[in-house]
């Protein structure tokens, strides 16, 4: 089942994979950045959590992209 999924997503070569990965990156940065920004506003304005959230978002979206397209 998992193979079929990966197969569908990779069907038309690299361009759609690229769009998927861009979507993941955008989603990761937005959601974890927003959570970090919220914590910053709650605790006081020092922006450390915002930076941490963005980094975490990039990391998790790359991990997700690897799960979807890189893993065998």
């Amino acid at each position: 089942m998992e193979d079929r999924k990966v197969d569908i997503l990779n069907k038309d070569g690299k361009i759609t994979t690229l769009f998927y990965m861009l979507g993941f990156l955008l989603a990761g940065v937005l959601i974890w950045g927003a959570i970090g920004w919220g914590i910053d506003n709650w605790l006081g304005h020092n922006n450390y959590f915002l930076i941490g959230g963005v980094v975490l978002g990039i990391g998790s979206s790359l991990y997700l992209a690897w799960l979807r397209f890189g893993r065998k």
């Binding site: 089942m1 998992e2 079929r4 999924k5 569908i8 997503l9 069907k11 038309d12 361009i15 759609t16 769009f19 861009l22 979507g23 993941f24 955008l26 989603a27 990761g28 937005l30 959601i31 974890w32 975490l56 978002g57 998790s60 979206s61 991990y63 997700l64 799960l67």
Partner: protein, 254 residues
Amino acid sequence: MAQPGFEPPGSGDFIFTPIFGNSILATKPVLLLFFSVILISVFFIASSRKAAVVPSKLQFAGESIYSFVRDGIGKDVIGHEFQRFVPFLFTIFTFILTNNLFGIIPFMQFPTMSHIGFPVSITIFVYLVYHYVAIKKHGLGKYLKDMCFMPGIPKPMYVLLAPLEFLTYFAIRPLTLAMRLFGNMFAGHLLLMLFTLGGEYLLGSAWVIKIFSAISFSLAIGLSFFEMGIQCLQAYIFTLLAALYIAGALADEH
């Protein structure tokens, strides 16, 4: 300044006043939209009305567009259930393609899709279709569970990945789908306007500078052909991604 300088085109050039009356429905983009619907209908009715085993040139043209969408996008991407989505995909493809191509056809010269409202409304249909298909096939609970919780990864990772997947499906996908089409058409039209208006402006200068006007005009013509490629490509990509989202909704396991 002694002379008024060149005024570059901007987003203000995308705002049209109504051609007749006061209604917003009588502006150029809306009229082009209606015209495209008539054009597409007439073309495909004419090409399929006298269908024969040995096709005429018109029938051949209509059938090759149809089979391109059916086999190249529908069958290849969606798989065995593709047949019921072909009308939807075909409509999207021809509609976007025609409206994009208006951008380089003389006297029309405005891609309808460079107004954000039009891509957004098509995207709303795609959004409703792929969620509806998935919920009907899997049920809402299983759909959300499959979407957010991918099997075979360590449990703590779900905290990181579940919100990300959720946002991808419900916000990022429609957003990027609409923005990609809008942005490409907007930028392309702006580029063509820049070189055309620039050439026109340079024409009013001293004769040495008129040479550069010729360069500007020929660039505008060259870029028009380049734009034609982009316009076809964007219509294709929009339809391809719509098909991919439907295929993802139909897949047994997320």
